[in-house]
């Protein structure tokens, strides 16, 4: 999903699905609410660096595999 203002693309939903995690489970793992995971996946919210790193760690991925700018895709 792409965040319109910044052009940030994320593959959070796909990676989460690969790991068999619900939004709730991922939210619990990183200390946010399910709706925050939802807004990141839908490209409505750009997470902070800290949250992005937590998400990457929780999904066993590198941050660059989860988030990247469209022009570098």
């Amino acid at each position: 999903m792409r965040h319109e203002e910044t052009g940030l693309v994320n593959r959070l939903k796909e990676r989460r699905a690969e790991r068999g995690l619900t939004q709730e489970a991922l939210a619990e793992a990183v200390g946010v609410t399910r709706k925050t995971i939802n807004t990141v996946e839908r490209g409505r919210f750009v997470p902070s660096t800290v949250l992005a790193l937590k998400l990457a760690a929780a999904l066993g991925s590198r941050v660059e595999e989860l988030f990247f700018l469209e022009r570098s895709a």
């Binding site: 709730e24 939210a27 946010v32 609410t33 399910r34 709706k35 925050t36 807004t39 409505r44 919210f45």
Partner: protein, 153 residues
């Protein structure tokens, strides 16, 4: 559903009730001051309606405020829930709501100046102050609730 999600839903419901009752109560109170207290012409039934709404609205607002307070205490007793419910998205929604409230108050202040200076409508400080609080706070509360509900959808 984990406890944090239950708290989040409960908070949204409590804040919706709080925002709605505040809008009704503060609006009626503003009307009460603008017409009844300052003795502007108002048909008796309407004056009674405004007065009754002020009282009923206050009771509703106080009750929803108590609900929000008690819920807040339960959440505060759970550090994980407290942190999650105040995560960066909620903080962003809070910031956006406050910014919108600021602009509404600014616009109302401008409108009051136009009314007084341009159109000669007499506004007392009490009425204007109440109107600013009524609409400014209502916008902040309502927008926060709307943003949180949209994110949860």
């Amino acid at each position: 559903m984990r406890m944090i999600e239950r708290y989040e839903r409960a908070r949204r419901r409590a804040m919706t009730a709080y925002a709605a009752t505040f809008f009704v109560w503060a609006g009626a109170l503003t009307g009460f001051f603008a017409w009844v207290i300052e003795d502007r012409p108002l048909p008796q039934p309407l004056a009674l309606l405004v007065s009754a709404t002020t009282v009923i609205g206050f009771v509703g607002w106080a009750a929803s405020g108590l609900w929000l307070f008690l819920l807040g205490r339960r959440i505060a007793a759970d550090p994980k829930a407290s942190e999650a419910l105040n995560d960066e998205r909620s903080r962003q929604n809070t910031d956006r709501a406050f910014v919108a409230g600021f602009w509404v108050i600014l616009a109302l202040a401008g409108a009051a100046i136009v009314l007084e200076v341009g159109l000669g409508v007499a506004l007392t400080g009490k009425t204007l102050g109440l109107a600013l609080i009524w609409l400014g706070v209502s916008v902040v509360l309502s927008l926060f609730v709307l943003l949180e509900a949209r994110d949860a959808a």
